[in-house]
Symmetry: C2
Subunit: 525 residues, 2 copies
Amino acid sequence: MIFMTGPFTGTLVPCSGKLAISTKSPASGTILDCSIGGHFAGELKYAGYDAVIVEGKAKEPVYLWIENDRVEIRSADEVWGKGTHETEFSLKNSHGLDVKVLAIGPAGENMVSMACISSELYRQAGRGGVGAVMGSKNLKAIVVRGTGGVAVANHKELCTKAKEFLKNDALTDDNLWAYTDGTPMIVELSHSSGILPTRNFQQGTFAEFKNISADAVKGVRKDKKGCLSCGLGCGNYVEVGQITVEGPEYETLAIGGSNCGISDLEAIVEFNKICDDLGLDTISVGNTIAFAMEMTEKGIKDFNLRFGDVEEYLRVTEEISNNQSDLALGVKALAEKYGGNDFAMQVKGLEFPGYEPRGAWGMGLAYATSDRGACHMRAWPVADEAYGDMDPFTIAGKAEMVIGLQHYNAAKFSTILCDFWALSLETAAELLTLTTGKQYTAQDLEVIGERIVNLARLFNAREGFAAKDDKLPRRIYNEALKTGATAGKRLPEVEFNRMLREYYQLRGWDNTGKPIADKINQLGI
Amino acid sequence: MIFMTGPFTGTLVPCSGKLAISTKSPASGTILDCSIGGHFAGELKYAGYDAVIVEGKAKEPVYLWIENDRVEIRSADEVWGKGTHETEFSLKNSHGLDVKVLAIGPAGENMVSMACISSELYRQAGRGGVGAVMGSKNLKAIVVRGTGGVAVANHKELCTKAKEFLKNDALTDDNLWAYTDGTPMIVELSHSSGILPTRNFQQGTFAEFKNISADAVKGVRKDKKGCLSCGLGCGNYVEVGQITVEGPEYETLAIGGSNCGISDLEAIVEFNKICDDLGLDTISVGNTIAFAMEMTEKGIKDFNLRFGDVEEYLRVTEEISNNQSDLALGVKALAEKYGGNDFAMQVKGLEFPGYEPRGAWGMGLAYATSDRGACHMRAWPVADEAYGDMDPFTIAGKAEMVIGLQHYNAAKFSTILCDFWALSLETAAELLTLTTGKQYTAQDLEVIGERIVNLARLFNAREGFAAKDDKLPRRIYNEALKTGATAGKRLPEVEFNRMLREYYQLRGWDNTGKPIADKINQLGI
């Protein structure tokens, strides 16, 4: 399990506050990487480390205490069993207010496959079960304090360029939404383009979408927050009733809201806080609850969960973290146990994020081919399809677009920059050159991106994944949506398969979805 | 009870991070003001407030939640009974990591007269029982979040001047000790000049002083910390065993260390943390324990406490916070109950800080005439006497010096700047003019300082205080010290009284220590 900073971490390069966490996913069995914002990554770098690699398993619960040159494995007896919030506070009480903390909650300790890692209460490495991997190692937390600095190759010019890029390239009108609204602005976009997951993806619109929209969130917003080095500040602190949370982000509003038939913003905020504290990924949990709601509705299995039932929705979340409910299995294993496979909204064991692929066919391809299962971070074609000018209901040009986005994101995320800076690879190359002293071009990064995608594919092939796993739940192929801009729309399997084949061909992969020798050689793998 | 920011709070004027808290002291019955560092004051200002005035008493335990324009009184049920650390974390969990918190611990709730107010775990408004006043109002905490700014009269020139003063006037070689050592550097100074309180002021030197010196503290130091706007960064984070604390400061090392016969740094660090968490002033608690140790030693009353007994020393501290021990009375009331008045080291009910007046006669006058009882913040003549070039063992020039220092400090602290910037009144006046837009001169500030001292004196006179209360414990008059630079020294009562009379005369006060009408008129009171 690798906790990785990037070449820009700890510098003033905009949006470089992330930490990447790489491991094998307990949710999907694929390769997994996941990122977390806040201030941990910078602190780790200031302590003198590019990465922390954790091998093996401790006999008893422990945490890692890193203070500059000193690294200690300490007993976690006092915090084991506690939520991430109490854990973080307790560790700050032990080590001083200035330390930064990554921690798992009970969900991670119990190795629930949708367990996340939390930092600063409300920042999460959410997807794929990174928290369960920490739990499997009896590693409750990593605490770091660093008082050093970061050396870069060309300090003066990097400062000048970073400021210039911040002003002209990051803090652009196009990016202003991050500060003014944050991700909740996507709710209305998704609803009006018919791709807002509603009632376990039975619909793409939500009659009560206004209750969970950016305006609703802004109505209870109290504050803004950003990560280290960020000029955008996308985080919203909200307060509803007596509950304060940094969030909810779009994914939580969509998957924990409309997708569970829930329009009560206070309930979603509480769900958000419970998940953050217990250490659960809101996307996977929301999907699992929504799936159980539909299973109950259809009479396949009674989970005592109904769409819109706030009380049960909040109760079961706690049960999941304690592994006291079947729902802790996640959507895929739950469907294997009780049925409902056709509407089990997951790919390779990872639950769908908040974008309906029937209203953005390229998004369907992105879900099917992402290395870690149904994921919106490897490629996000909805921006061009559902929200943009590209026809969402065609496969024309989608394979090429998804490939381009996958390379771009792989390259960008390998520099460990935040998703929300739509920087060009030219800019990234220029910053890399100034930071590392090695010459990079946009072309280099394009190749790096492609190499990453292929390497991940080879990793997954070794684990037994192949074309058979690059597929969507049958609901997407067979059931037409009924409302809004996507009424009457499905993504027919034949179209999907055609798009997938084109994707393989363009990638230089064979019909089983495996990179051919020429491609592997060409990329120098 | 008034929580007050200053004209510089929230600006980049160096060392302006303090908050002043004014009330009537439950320890002494005098007027009381007390200051606390950290980031609370700036946050309050950014929320739009110069001050918070709390009147009356809540029926049930409450806390105050201030978020910009919104002010709410909320139930403190969840945090009542908790230590300040858990309270602060719990309130951050409720209101977001960015809020700033002032809180009392069990000591304040139980209205122990040596209860302090804590912020950021390790910052305290320590003296005179401000925590007990909050407790008497059922006010557990104040939580504030402010997202505004601060307007000043002459922004551009203030920035220029503030930076200039920071560089040339605050971050001087003379001030470098704050960063390199912090206040523990005083331990060795005090020991070698024979004024380090040892075993309840029975000695002025401590054989094991090296164990509690700056070098010892630096040996376990892990980090440095400063308040908002501070360029000095005097705070030391230390870690001993498994205990981390920001501290111990000199006062805790002296009064909680040598004065209790304790040279075990780990025990002092633990004492420091317990006091911070339970909400107790280390100076008053340390003195009370030392007094009880001597009472036990002399056979006057057996408190089961011996000089150097670490275990009992830590145990009784917790009892004090819970008001389960007679020691919660403080030195004065304890002496009234059981005797030992001659070596009850307090003035007007406030226990001595860490400077032996037999080795700095002016310090004796400062203790006796300070408006809040034995205090080192109203005037600190030891700098010139024990640590400087002035003869410590004479009264010549001391009254005049103490008066000058009292005016200077009253003026400086009324602008709510930190003690550790030895700025001139000229500098203060220049900054005040740029900040407020009103013209100030050093002479104005001198008069303001004198007016404050006289006004406080009139307040105390109204409460029944007079010349009879301006006195020192008889040990100072009668017992000669036996070791080091102060061997053979006492401060004879006749000398003390002569110095006090001169002080009254120079001040324009009558023989009862009351300002005469001419003085009151002259100051425009």
